[in-house]
């Protein structure tokens, strides 16, 4: 391979210099930045004009670079440590935070605007507490099709234990923990809930006819019985923010809901990428992501809850998208240490 690399480099310089016109902007001095690169997961989205407000305030343009899901995002940062992809990262969640911190891809900075009201979202000190600013959070919960249970005159399940009750046989569809992020979140919920007994719980869940689909869209649109889906299973692992989408326009009754005692909380963080040339400007961008301007826009743009206590929720959210009071959670360190082990044990039980 060394050979190829050398060959490639030689030929490269010789012939393809035409592509050099797309060369980098590399002002070496630490003056103010003209432009910051914000590296995100690919669900990142804000309404038109929001990032422009940052440009108006600071004179700095923001270029957004999507880099896959949360896992891919962190891995890309790790692989490109010597030549960073950008200045600020958004979208590292609590399941991958530990890896990002341990690999040293983040500068030490937490937004100075975080108050006691948001302190609960901060990570433990050695697991990202000094590097990551919480931006949003969302719960992954079992969603229930109210209409189905009403029609079939069956009481809705409430807690995880209910899901292995024969009363609810063949009614649940979940996503695979090794190919879907809500799937992983649900697995983590069960691990927090049952501790060492989680393998038995999963064996019972599968015995009770739980279907395991590869992706969220499969589970939600093919097997779930909700109003916009084709399937016949009235229970699906989805987000706490999914039900508002199923409310018909003008209606005040939600056809689906989230079982709030089955939720795992995912919090997403922003941080400064180690090696940036503009740490001071990058800090301003992190502060901006935490500011009410962005925080108020987050629910409608990314379907998750803002972290900032000063942010306001859009209409309908307080009615249809409730927040779990005691969601399950596992420390980033534990997740990072056990991820592979858990997933392979899970695969052996759920996808024999």
């Amino acid at each position: 391979m060394q050979h190829h690399i050398r060959l490639a480099a030689a030929l490269a310089v010789a012939t393809l210099s035409l592509s050099a016109c797309a060369s980098a902007d590399a002002p070496a001095a630490n003056g103010p930045a003209d432009k910051l690169v914000l590296v995100t997961h690919d669900s990142f989205s804000l309404s038109d004009g929001i990032l422009e407000q940052f440009t108006e305030e600071t004179g700095i343009e923001v270029e957004v670079q999507a880099a896959g899901d949360a896992g891919e995002l962190v891995n890309k940062l790790v692989l490109t440590k010597d030549s960073p992809l950008g200045d600020v990262v958004f979208g590292i969640d609590n399941t991958f935070a530990s890896r990002a911190v341990n690999e040293g891809v983040l500068e030490k900075y937490v937004s100075k605007d975080v108050t006691d009201a948001e302190a609960a979202y901060l990570l433990p000190a050695d697991q990202g507490g000094e590097e990551l600013t919480p931006i949003d959070n969302g719960d992954v919960c079992v969603n229930v099709d109210h209409e189905w249970f009403a029609e079939n005159d069956l009481e809705e399940p409430v807690v995880l234990d209910d899901l292995i009750d024969p009363k609810y046989k063949d009614l649940l569809v979940v996503e695979a923990a090794n190919s879907s992020s809500p799937g992983l979140a649900f697995l983590l919920a069960t691990i927090d809930a049952y501790g060492d007994g989680w393998q038995d719980y999963w064996a019972s869940l599968i015995d009770n006819g739980a279907q395991v689909d590869a992706s969220w869209s499969d589970a939600y649109y093919v097997d779930f019985s909700g109003p916009s889906s084709e399937g016949d299973r009235p229970l699906v692992v989805s987000y706490a923010s999914s039900p508002p989408f199923e409310v018909p326009e003008g209606s005040t009754v939600a056809p689906t809901g989230a079982l709030l005692d089955t939720c795992f909380r995912q919090t997403e963080y922003a941080g400064i990428i180690a090696g940036t040339k503009y740490p001071d400007d990058a800090a301003k961008l992190v502060d901006f992501l935490f500011s009410p301007i962005v925080q108020n826009d987050i629910p409608e743009s990314m379907y998750v809850y803002p972290v900032n206590a000063a942010a306001t929720l859009p209409e309908g959210w307080s009615d249809f998208a409730k927040i779990a009071e005691n969601p399950f959670s596992i420390s980033p360190e534990d997740i990072d240490a056990n991820r592979e082990q858990w997933l392979s044990e899970w695969a052996a039980i759920a996808t024999p």
């Binding site: 190829h4 480099a9 490269a12 797309a22 695979a176 992706s215 399937g231 018909p248 996808t351």
Partner: protein
Amino acid sequence: MTTVRPRIAPSTTVAVVLGAGVPIVFFAVFFLWPVGAMVVRGFGDGIALDVLTRPRTVRLIGLTLGQAALAAIITTVLGVPIAHVLYRLRFRGRRFLRALIIVPFVLPTVVVGVAFRTLLREGGLLGFLHLDGTFAAIMLALVFFNIAVVVRTVGGAWENLDPRQEEAARVLGASPARVMLTVTLPRLAPAIIAASSVVFLFCSTAFGVVLVLGGTRFGTIETEIYLLTTQFLDLRAASVLSITQLVVVVLVLLVAGRLRPKRGTERGSSVARRPRRADAAAISITIVTGLLLALPVVALLARSFQTADGWSLGNYIALGSTGSRNALSGPVWEALGNSLVIAAAATAIALVIGTSASLILSRRPRSIGLRRGILALDGVLMLPLGVSAVTVGFGFLITLNQPPFDLRSSPILVPIAQALVATPLVVRTLLPVLSAIDERLRESAAVLGAAPLRVLRDVDLGIVARPVLAASGFAFAVALGEFGATSFLSRPDRPTLPVVIFRLIGLPGGDNFGMAIAASVVLATVTVMVIGLVERLRVGTVGSW
């Protein structure tokens, strides 16, 4: 041997320079370097050969090979009769059908996965078959996606087959079946083998289809590399599997090369004829397969007109918007525009690289060293079909980060990645035709005083003009439908249509789902229109040479 041995035709020298230089540089920079760098990085802490002895890995390698081989065989067996019907028989609408057959090839995997599972699940239209989550379901989907590869590659070669040999055999009393088996199929062998090996490679790196339809019980080397790289960051294991993929590809190419006859397809001008009784078998296979292919497509079409208010154009009208609750950063039409521009750029790159590579690959120089070099180049060009998009994508990140290749955030990377996948198809379409050019044609042109470049232009390029058009349509379709690498590299402000569809189908709410389906229908329709247009151009070129 009374004649003087002719020296190597001068056009060969020109072809070598043009043909070898451009593709070698392109593949070295955008494929070998990134993939090599990833593998080297993984081997940094020692080679994790133990991965290969894990029962799970052994099972996945077996599954990958078995599934790709079976899918390639089924696709070929069904595809060849269809190629016969669509390219040798004359009937109304055949040109339309030729364009239509490309539809499954460009539909986004995630959408097809949903469509298939909606049909196959318990209670679905085909629920009684009990195929949901089975190996057979994966097979159906792989055939669905790849049949166009066989039909178009073999059909293109068939169209250029001189029918006089068949006619002679018939006159001498051979039955139509015997003519087919002993005269026609052997002459088509290069194209058939080329097509099946491409299908094999596509299937061996299949990712979404396997996951969605296999219900997570099945997997491939590809799904494992994805898991190891993107979730576990276990590059040591991923590197070993990447090498395994490379070995598989090389073995397949060696076998295919061995099976492939030394000479390419002969060229003649064949005229499509009216269907005869002897075509009954091929026609029935075409109709039955056609109906099976149509089922998921029709189901999607029907779904695209369903809205909360019943049947309407609502989903299509919504494509002008940014989705319910601003799901997207721009209207879907904008994404279609991005897709067309990017795919056009990718096609241009693939044609330049593919045509120049084919020119050199079609030569049979006397020097054994050169001949081996040509064979090696042939193999290298096929590699991107069989190597993980994840490995290539991560490889881009760690290599293309300094001048003159500081391209990580450049928009040019998307068409380049698409071109990597499209180029092998261009080569496999052009090569059989170019290999068939009688060297004497070039030599006599040279003897008659034509300069090397003129020989190249009038002989080689003149003859490939028609196949180049066919290849460009195909390359365009590949680029338009490409998702794996594109989603990895595309910029949020310039998403392609498949990326937007993926985003829409990942959000709750009937209107977003409806838009995703409608957008898929638009993607398929646009592709059919482009391919149809190219077919027309091809007809136009017949008279010019």
